[in-house]
Amino acid sequence: MKMLKILFLVFSLVLFFAGSALGGDSITIQGSTTVNPVSQITAEAFMDQYPHINISIRGGGSGTGLAALVDDAVELAQSSRFIREDEVRRAVENGVYPVPHRIAMDGIAVVVHPDNPVNELTLDELQAIFSAEITCWSELGGPNQEITIVSRDSASGTFGVFNDIVLRDRRLAPTALTQASNAAISTTVAETPGGIGYVGLGYLSERLQAVFVDGVKPDNTTVSSGEYPIARPLFFFTNGWPEGSVASYISFVLSPAGQELIEQQGFVPLH
């Protein structure tokens, strides 16, 4: 009888510790591939400080991440857009209350060849250029030279922002050259006198000329103040106000140390 009591005690202790180890100290993040580098670098630094907390990150896109949060399958959804109304409705029906946390800003600079005299464009002009309504630089006060559009592949997160803010209801011209990375866009535009492309702020260099959009120069200050138009906030969504390890991870991301790591990845910090 005594033996049975001890066994019962050991068994419940094991259950208790196993339960807390599984539930309390592991965080799963899922969602936008754009946000992936932000989550990855901050999670690595965070896990160095708190070795008992384990963070695993999955991509799949903003929609996938938010769907997983709605199903209460993940602790954090990373998203490069705000949650949609129908997603909030489904979440509330499931008893999940999504809370947004803005973690960084993502700015995209429009770049042309350094010799191009055109250094300022409006959003409407950009829409006309990238949908091939305007095909010659002379229509914009530049030389009589054909415009060569250089774009990211259609599935990339950067293309997604650019598509939403610049192209809006128009389709990217099918004649656009496509490149697989920010670095490849930089090289192509730098070697194409009539070229125009777009890259993350972290990829600007003297080989490229960043144009003013609607009169605003793209840099960290104008992106974080919201003046520069081709920018968007990046979000974490939690179920209810975060507690425990999720709360300490989000505070780490928002801390000066976390924001500095984010800036190193080419994103714009919040402060």
Binding site: A155, N163, R171, T175, L177, T188
Partner: protein, 296 residues
């Protein structure tokens, strides 16, 4: 049962399973290709898929027309053959009949070395050297275009075409040439009127295998063709062949989305095109063997 017998049996089965494994891998690849690719046809019909002219897989509603991609692959490959076949065939004639045997033993392996250069190196060459040259030479907005891809793929197909055509030419029985020379023809007449016609199906195999290599090549076209999903109406314009589309877009698309399935759908189309090339090449090989073998 002796120990030696068991050992023999063991080795026999080991070899059998190794041989079987490549069949299993092939079956596995085909199974995955179709399992992941066929769902696209619940979004678009087969006819719309291969004849649609708009490739906007990300748009709402999406357009999954791969005609520009198929045409780009075919145009670029044809252009590569226009460059590679004359150069390859004439090189093969030179190596087979004009070059002294001693030099032939050096030159042929050197041409075959061209095949061992990784395709990404060809891509870098096309990107950094050929693209600026083409841009300045033809006064183009950009050197990333169909012509650049044709030249690079043509160079890459050369070793296959030279090596296999040379084999075909030397396999033509010697009495053919001797008889033709004895009848008073010149060396060139003997080569052009007797030996080339006799080796024609062997040369056709060489060309089709070169074609197969060019159409399946991914890295070079991804790097130099420009990647614009438009109908290839001008070789000085950017195009987006099927292989480049799959390679460029697969990494970023979300698994299980219609776009993802459409990329596997392109893979299925590509699979059938290369299968067709291999069947044709096989047909010509057998024809050549029965012809040369049967009459000598």
């Amino acid at each position: 049962m002796s120990k030696g017998y068991l050992k023999e049996q063991f080795i026999k089965y080991l070899l059998f399973f190794c041989a079987l494994s490549s069949v299993l891998f092939l079956a596995g690849i085909i199974w995955v290709l179709f399992r992941e690719g066929l769902p696209v046809f619940s979004h678009v019909s087969l006819l719309e898929f291969i004849s649609g002219r708009d490739w906007y897989p990300y748009w709402h509603p999406p357009d999954f027309g791969i005609l520009p991609l198929i045409s780009a692959s075919l145009v670029v490959t044809t252009g590569a053959m226009v460059i590679a076949v004359p150069i390859g065939l004439f090189s093969a004639i030179f190596i087979a009949f004009i070059l002294p045997l001693k030099l032939k033993k050096i030159v042929k392996p050197i041409t075959e070395l061209l095949a061992s250069i990784p395709s990404v190196i060809f891509g870098l060459f096309g990107m950094q050297i050929l693209a600026p040259v083409l841009r300045d030479l033809f006064n183009l907005p950009s050197g990333f275009n169909a012509l650049n891809a044709m030249i690079m793929l043509g160079i890459m197909a050369l070793p296959t075409i030279i090596s296999l055509s040379e084999d075909a030419l030397t396999a033509v029985p010697e009495p053919y040439r001797e008889a033709s020379l004895a009848l008073g023809s010149t060396r060139w007449e003997a080569i052009s009127k007797v030996i080339i016609p006799a080796a024609l199906s062997g040369i056709a195999t060489a060309v089709i295998l070169g074609l197969g290599r060019a159409i399946g090549e991914t890295m070079v076209v991804l790097m130099v063709a420009g990647g614009a999903a438009v109908m290839p109406t001008d070789i000085f314009r950017a195009v987006k062949p099927m292989t480049a589309t799959i390679a460029a877009e697969m990494g970023e698309t979300s698994v299980g989305s219609p776009h993802y399935h459409s990329l596997f759908g392109i893979g299925i189309v590509l699979f059938f095109i290369t299968l067709l090339f291999n069947i044709i090449a096989d047909y010509f090989t057998q024809k050549f063997q029965s012809m040369v073998g049967g009459e000598s």
